[in-house]
Amino acid sequence: MARTGTVAGGGRGARGSAAAPPAAVPADDVELTQLQRLELYYWMRLTRSLEERLVNLYRQTKVVGGLFRSLGQEADAVGSAYALERSDVLSPLIRNLGSMLVKGATPVEILKQYMAKGDSPTRGRELNIHFGDTARGFIGQISPLGDMVPVMAGVTLSFKMRRDPRVGLVYVGDGATSTGAFHEGINFAAVQRCPLVVVVENNGYAYSTPTRKQTLAAQFIDKAIGYGIAAEQADGNDVIATYAATRRAVDRARRGDGVTLVELITYRRKGHAEHDNQSYVPAGEIDRWERENDPITRYLARLRSEGVTDDALAAIDARVAREIDEATDLAEQSGVPEALDALVGVYADPPSERPLWYRAGQGGVVDQHERPEGWGTYDAAARGAD
């Protein structure tokens, strides 16, 4: 369902998506080897299992802060990221654990981040999967939604200026399309013809807000024409279709043909974060998506129909389980950050701030009683949003 500067007719409406799962559509034909097809399964399974492990750790109060799930969205995250080359740069969101894994983030890093360990990728400075590594080609998000679109416009502008054939990909949620930053960033990138792919993950909700309260547009690809850019729309729960649509956009960007808006239609089966009881979701909606449109179940059926054996799949599952166990053991061994590290690296120069005078010579002056009781579990609502 590619669209380049024209309106795609009869696209699956954004508003429709929350109400009823899209019927299984035949995925676009793409050339992926059997090995690659199994790799896609591996990443999706790893994503889901790792999040399940995080739920356990969360219940054990080993996670500091909130926990965010991408249950039911693994295909959209994995399939889109898989369309990038190693040297390309991706900017993930809170529900793009799968994308980060594809780009080289490791389970142990994820676990350490969630547990706020001293040797986690951000040394305990930032939450959950808010981290990046330019060497591996992913850039950590910040919480204010939409801000990564302008930033990725600049990342890809630098590629264009240096005639470096790299591509950038940035995710925004259906909710984040309402921000000024999204608009300014995508328009800037369009006019500058940056090699950028903007993926709108339409999962039906922004926190508790359904898409129809976010926009009146029938579908998010309808925004593309207003920016004079190309659009692609795909069933985000079909990993191959997602891959194919994103790949077309990536190729277009690499060819120098500018920005594409990719809409991936999916569904957020868990609440905004673990504490959210989803009371605002119409009865039966979640069940229906789980039953009829789970991206892993769907992909398994497809793989089997293509002749992949149960043994081959079981081997992947076993590998995933082993990797997560190992990562958990490793992550649990790490210590908490050194208090004084809090003062390091606000600037390149000076390399560190000085402790305030009443802290001089003290690692930590905090009395036990001053810690919020039971942080990590205390106040579910205090962990309301990412």
Binding site: E126, P144, T179, Y280, E353, V365, D367, P372, A381, A385
Partner: protein
């Protein structure tokens, strides 16, 4: 009378004001059916309907701008920022449009922007901010930041009734930790008046929001261990500041410690120090000192956050130095 939490006090104010005045309405992200990220507005939509409790797109510029437009037309909008940190997105709209409306265009702009603020909750750099300094700096805005449940209710009611825009910061660490009895009747706390949270003779701690409790803890410890009588002034209103109350405590104790959770450089302590200097220099027996956060983004891990933010032990140390000066 039963005690209610700081959070319930805010909710009560919203209910009472919406009941009292049909022009009061609320808008923000997820405040309706969901009742808000912290459930402050829970029940409001059920009672007052979707047209007076509006779930908005994720658009802080538009939410604040639309509130201003409605306020010009005689409405009394109450905006919720899901976290006060996102008020940064509306900085232009608030400081350039809203704050100047009356002055440059004689347009009334009675509106409230409220939201969960502050740290000590492992929220990390974007869910723990105390952005008051940037707004106290803006002529045309009023800023309040209550520490008690009764003040939370009374100041929110005053804010909603004020003829100008009031930023109402709610400390999320206090939401469910602090309780208080509500005074009977239509409880309104005037904006611009500080509160003496503890009487004392030897030294004054000037503070607001969550650190009021750290100051009170320190005061108890200093009384117990050092025999010091410490006064604690809870500012409550940051713009306008209550100069008279500040003068009174300085002239009484002659030693002043200012405590705030915000970072040090450019935080409110500077302004207060300047005012004390100008108005009470001859009453000072010691330099005005400050206990504040360190000048870094607020990190997430408990050991880091605890180190960066001001703690009771810091206040005790600083107060001892002041007392010994």
């Amino acid at each position: 009378m039963a005690e209610i939490t700081y959070l319930e006090a805010i909710r009560e104010a919203l209910f009472e004001e919406m009941e009292r005045d049909a022009d009061v309405f609320c808008l923000g992200e997820d405040i309706g059916a969901y009742g808000g990220a912290f459930k402050v507005t829970e029940g409001l939509m059920a009672k007052y309907g979707e047209s007076r409790v509006i779930d908005t797109p994720i658009s802080e510029i538009a939410i604040v701008g639309a509130a201003a437009g409605a306020a010009h037309m005689g409405m009394r909008p109450v905006v919720e920022m899901q976290f006060i940190d996102f008020i940064a997105n509306a900085y232009d709209m608030l400081t350039n449009y809203v704050a100047t409306a009356r002055y440059r265009a004689f347009l009334p702009c009675p509106m409230v922007v409220r939201g969960p603020s502050g740290g000590y909750v492992r929220g990390g750099p974007f869910h723990s901010q105390n952005p008051e300094a940037g707004f106290v700096h803006t002529p045309g805005l009023k800023v309040v930041y209550p520490s008690t449940a009764a003040d939370a209710k009374g100041l929110l009611k005053a804010a909603i009734r004020d003829e100008d825009c009031v930023l109402f910061f709610e400390h999320k660490y206090l939401y469910r930790r602090i309780k208080g009895e509500m005074p009977a009747g239509d409880h309104v706390v005037p904006i611009g008046k500080a509160r003496v949270a503890r009487d004392g003779r030897d030294l004054s701690i000037i503070t607001y929001a969550a650190t009021v409790y750290k100051a009170l803890e320190a005061a108890q410890q200093l009384e117990r261990e050092d025999g010091l009588s410490v006064e604690v002034l809870d500012l409550r209103s940051l713009a306008p500041l209550d100069d008279d109350a500040i003068d009174a405590t300085v002239r009484k104790t002659n030693r002043v410690l200012i405590v705030h959770e915000d970072t040090r450089t450019g935080g409110l302590a500077g302004e207060i120090t300047a005012r004390i200097n100008e108005r009470c220099f001859e009453w000072l027996d010691a330099p005005v000192l400050r206990v504040t956060a360190h000048d870094v983004p607020l990190p997430y891990a408990p050991s880091l956050e605890d180190f960066v933010l001001p703690q009771t032990a810091d206040i005790v140390l600083a107060a001892r130095r002041l007392a010994a000066y």
